[in-house]
């Protein structure tokens, strides 16, 4: 048995042990043992993924595991990449969860502790599925376990229940789409293993191929949180326990991308350009819309959830570009675009998991998620603040952060993509570049807001005032993620061979396009290279030089302290500081037409005079406009239908018997007509 198989077996065994420990042991031991085993399961997943990325492949048929079809598993470099990402996140989150769930949030209960390892295992196994039935079973198991975890805190907050309902409905509508698409594919191809699908795809009619791609693609896009199927994401991610949010946001949404790549590029073998324009357009729209909503959000975890929507949008821009270049016959550029998308997926997983864990740390210490009421945490929780800053540097896509390399590669690919002939390329690619640039610019504003308002300045509430640093296990979990961020930022070149192999596994055999050379990332077909370590080193040298020169030029005096000047206004109170809402106000005005904010001023005058005001109430909300326009009408129509249908149930048994009789008669008539 190869390393991949051994590691996956170990992962399955550890998951079983963790689930058993979570079910049977007493609370304290339960949290620790389940956490340790989950971390081990993550490590096993990471090992399997890295081995697969290194070029090992593995497959297994387990005919007795599932009735009728049996279970088929196969691991290539593409699955290996997603497996490694999920494994790394699970490893860190397992360690983090020991401290987080032990804090008495109601998360140390049997349900959560037993379900979490199963969810973690499905995250690792979904990319390994090699037949339609195995894939769907694992996919649904992932959805159900994550749903159970999302509603873990439903006793504490009513909003959790609403989020759980949205998530349950959306994820199952997605499952229906996947079921329709993949079942149709299997029927047309005449077999349900991925090998049979690959072989049968060429013989399918274009209409069938289009239907399969669009139906299943919509299901996958909804899992990736793409506009307009995103409505569950900004609800479920904030309301789930923070370590579960980290798993969902850094590992689960990636599987939507995996699905699109696996289905579109590998199983269906590419496709016409319009498929990929659709993917690219959805990605660009989600990127801009997601980051705009994040700029408006003042709930820290909601902001991070919207940012996930943005980053997965950028990833899908890369995937769409890859498919488009592939359809145009430019294999080298297609490989580059897919590599850019995958690199951004890896980077996003690292910084987003760290951001969610840090947000969880804040929640753990203060019980608050509202940025307007936080502040001043940098002095009270220095490690958390530092780690959040590191992850935010990755998220704003500026050097020397880790998000920069992926976006740089993506921009390079799109810029060179103009060499691909076609008017549609000349129109879409500049628009895609503009969308990426706009989302990068807005991301800077978003994370300046999150870090500056949430962690700097002075505390704006008693809870923030009393915040204490988190327990060491939580810090250790975050430290692991921080290490991953730093490694990805400084040496992305080490990933280059793996990315090339993953692209080859996705069916894009364009030869080797990326090379690492240890610390730099250079492209073969187009002349461009990036030296992240050099940039970081140059910045460090420049910083040291500036510091030394300033010291030398000035008089050697100790740094003095003085009161804040504030234009002579004197001691400002925390209430006068800028909040997240006020920070976002100019942006909201700029994008007024897109966001359509709602304002409501309610003035109650004193009874005797219209000029003396007793009370003024100001309400301001930035609703999700797409949701309002798209979901509300459907929901209200369904509610109306339900209300109308209640009249049918009058409570009389005679009427019900009448319905039954009529139904039988109609059925018989229909059958007679068909026969």
């Amino acid at each position: 048995m190869s390393a991949v198989g051994a590691a996956l077996t170990a992962a399955a065994v550890l998951a079983a042990v963790a689930a058993a420990a979570g079910t049977w042991l007493p609370a304290r031991a339960r949290v620790t043992l389940a956490g340790v085993c989950t971390a081990g399961l993550g490590a096993a997943g990471l090992t399997a993924g890295v081995a697969a990325l290194g070029g090992q492949s593995w497959s297994a048929d387990l005919p007795d595991l599932l009735p009728l079809a049996g279970a088929h598993l196969a691991v290539d470099a593409l699955s290996g990449l997603f497996m490694a990402v999920a494994g790394a996140v699970v490893l860190a989150v397992g360690v983090y969860g020991i401290g987080y769930a032990g804090g008495g949030h109601g998360l140390s209960g049997r349900g959560v502790q037993a379900v979490l390892p199963v969810f973690a295992l499905t995250l690792i196994l979904v990319p390994a599925a090699a037949s339609v039935s195995t894939f769907l079973v694992l996919w649904e198991l992932m959805a159900l376990t994550s749903l159970a975890l999302v509603v873990a805190e439903h006793r504490e907050r009513g909003s959790v229940r609403e989020a759980g309902l949205w998530y349950a409905v959306m994820t199952h509508l997605g499952l229906v789409l996947l079921l329709v698409g993949l079942a149709w594919f299997a029927a047309e191809a005449g077999g349900e293993t991925f090998t049979a699908l690959r072989a049968g795809a060429a013989g399918m009619s274009p209409a069938a191929r289009d239907t399969v791609f669009v139906a299943a693609g919509l299901g996958f896009a909804s899992k990736a949180g793409m506009v307009p199927l995103h409505a569950w994401l900004p609800r479920a991610h904030p309301e789930a326990p923070s370590h579960v949010s980290a798993l969902m946001s850094a590992a689960m949404v990636n599987l939507g991308v995996y699905g699109i790549v696996r289905l579109g590029l590998d199983l269906l073998g590419g496709g016409p350009r319009w498929w990929w324009w659709l993917v690219l357009g959805t990605g660009a729209l989600s990127a801009v819309y997601g980051i705009l909503q994040a700029a408006m959000a003042s709930d820290l975890k909601r902001l991070l959830a919207w940012s996930t929507s943005e980053n997965l949008g950028l990833v899908l821009v890369g995937v769409g570009a890859a498919g488009m270049f592939n359809a145009a016959g430019d294999r080298p550029l297609a490989v580059l675009a897919l590599a850019a998308a995958l690199l951004h997926t890896v980077n996003h997983a690292a910084f987003k998991a760290l951001l969610f864990c840090a947000a969880g740390s804040v929640l753990h210490a203060t019980g608050l998620r509202d940025l307007d009421r936080l502040g001043g945490l940098r002095a009270r929780m220095p490690v958390t603040a530092g780690l959040f800053a590191l992850a935010a540097l990755g998220a704003v896509a500026l050097p020397p952060g880790n998000g920069f390399t992926g976006e740089w590669l993506l921009l390079q690919t799109l810029i060179h993509g103009l060499a691909v002939p076609g008017v549609s390329t000349a129109i879409m690619l500049p628009v895609a570049v503009a969308a990426i640039a706009l989302s990068a610019g807005l991301a800077a504003a978003v994370f300046v807001k999150a870090l500056g308002v949430g962690f700097f300045a002075r505390p704006r509430s008693p809870q923030a005032e009393r915040a204490r640093e988190s327990p060491p296990t939580m810090l250790a979990g975050m430290g692991l993620l921080a290490l991953a961020c730093a490694a990805l930022a400084l040496a992305p070149g080490a990933l280059a061979p793996g990315l090339d192999r993953a692209a080859a596994a996705a069916g894009l055999s364009g030869g080797r396009q990326l090379s690492g050379g240890g610390l730099r990332l250079s492209l073969h077909q187009v002349s461009a290279s990036l030296w992240p370590l050099w940039t970081a080193g140059a910045l460090a040298v420049a910083l040291a030089a500036v510091l030394a020169l300033t010291r030398a030029a000035g008089r050697r005096e100790r740094r003095g302290q003085a009161r804040l000047w504030d234009c002579g206004g004197g001691a400002p109170t925390p209430r006068m500081a800028y909040t997240a809402t006020s920070f976002a106000e100019p942006l909201q005005r700029v994008f007024d037409d897109v966001l359509a904010p709602e304002q409501d001023v309610d003035i109650t005058p004193v009874r005797e005079s219209a000029y003396l005001v007793e009370r003024v109430r100001f309400q301001h909300r930035v609703p999700d406009r797409i949701e309002h326009r798209l979901y509300r009408p459907v929901l209200s129509a369904l509610t109306g239908l339900g209300t109308a249908a209640r009249r049918l149930a009058a409570g009389s048994v005679h009427t019900y018997l009448g319905y039954g009789f009529c139904a039988v008669v109609v059925l018989l008539v229909v059958l007679a007509v068909i026969q």
């Binding site: 990068a440 610019g441 500056g452 300045a457 910045l539 009161r563 504030d566 400002p572 700029v590």
Partner: protein, 309 residues
């Protein structure tokens, strides 16, 4: 390369002084002389370093980071010569991102003070920065199409070999878009008034109100260096005549002299134009930036269709 950094550090305050002097003369004042910014910097550097109570490391590090990022950018840009030891690492996207890093650091410092003005300045600065970014990157896109690379040295030497390139419609549109973006990025009129003292209209100044002494000197120097670097970038991209393409001393000397002349001229023209401009309202700025964004998009389209690729 090191010489380039020294030239930018030494020249930036002189450029600022020159621009102030031009304005003063055109407004009928005597002016303080070209070397006044240098004297100000020296004075500030010798003062006692002071930090306001309640600020953290972000406030302390931001001025250093601002100057450091700009210095790295100054080293990367082909200002005097396209053939420097680091020209292979000089990617226009990296340059734009490094400048943005300085902006972000300063905005965080503004929020760190916890005053209303600091937050206001940071919020406005990030709004402008978020809108400038697409323009700059699209202009980069337009410029890199003819040379097939985003590498700065390749773009600049390509333009130096083929002067007609910058006179093409795509080049002209890109320069117009980039010029507006540079004005916004460096906080000049009509986006922001660098010499304002009315708090409610300030963008950049509102962020740095709490700085004093050596820190303030660094913030001022950083702002002046950014202006010098970006004007230098504009001249290199669109008027690269005489830039050294080899590493001989004579070519470098000619390149340096021409750079100084070109940047001085550009600065003087900008200062003269500013005399006749008024600052636009904050919420009219996005319209200006949207205009420049449109120009950049047109530049890409023109570049694509005219190059026939």
């Amino acid at each position: 390369m090191a010489a380039q950094v020294v030239v930018v550090v030494a020249g930036a305050p002189l450029l600022a002084g020159l621009m102030r002097q031009v304005r003063a003369r055109m407004e009928g004042r005597a002016g303080a002389g070209v070397r006044q910014p240098w004297r100000d910097l020296r004075k500030l550097l010798r003062k006692e370093p002071v930090t306001p109570v309640g600020t953290g490391p972000a406030f302390r590090v931001a001025p250093l980071l601002l100057v450091a990022t700009t210095a790295v950018v100054a080293a990367l840009l082909p200002l005097v010569s396209t053939d420097t030891p680091v020209s292979g690492r000089a990617d226009l996207i990296v340059v734009v991102a490094l400048l943005a890093l300085g902006t972000v650091a300063l905005a965080l410092a503004g929020l760190d003070t916890g005053t209303a003005f600091g937050g206001m300045g940071a919020s406005r600065e990030m709004t402008v920065a978020a809108l400038v970014e697409p323009t700059i990157l699209l202009a980069v896109f337009a410029l890199s199409i003819p040379s097939g690379s985003t590498n700065l040295a390749a773009i600049v030497s390509g333009a130096a070999d083929d002067p007609a390139r910058s006179a093409s419609p795509a080049g002209l549109l890109a320069i117009a878009a980039l010029a507006v973006a540079v004005l916004a990025e460096t906080g000049r009129l009509p986006v922001d008034n660098p010499s304002t003292h009315l708090e409610l209209t300030m963008i950049h100044e509102a962020m740095v109100l709490e700085y004093a002494g050596p820190d303030l000197a660094l913030v001022e120097l950083g702002a002046q260096m950014r202006l010098a670097v970006l004007l230098g970038l504009l001249t290199s991209l669109f008027a690269p005549w005489g830039i050294a393409t080899t590493a001989t001393w004579a070519a470098l000397a000619v390149g340096l002299a021409l750079l100084v002349v070109k940047v001085t001229l550009l600065g003087a023209v900008l200062a003269a134009a500013e005399v006749f401009w008024a600052k636009v309202r904050l919420f009219r700025v996005p319209e200006l930036l949207a205009g420049s964004f449109l120009l950049a998009l047109l530049a890409v389209a023109a570049s694509f269709f005219l190059n026939g690729r």
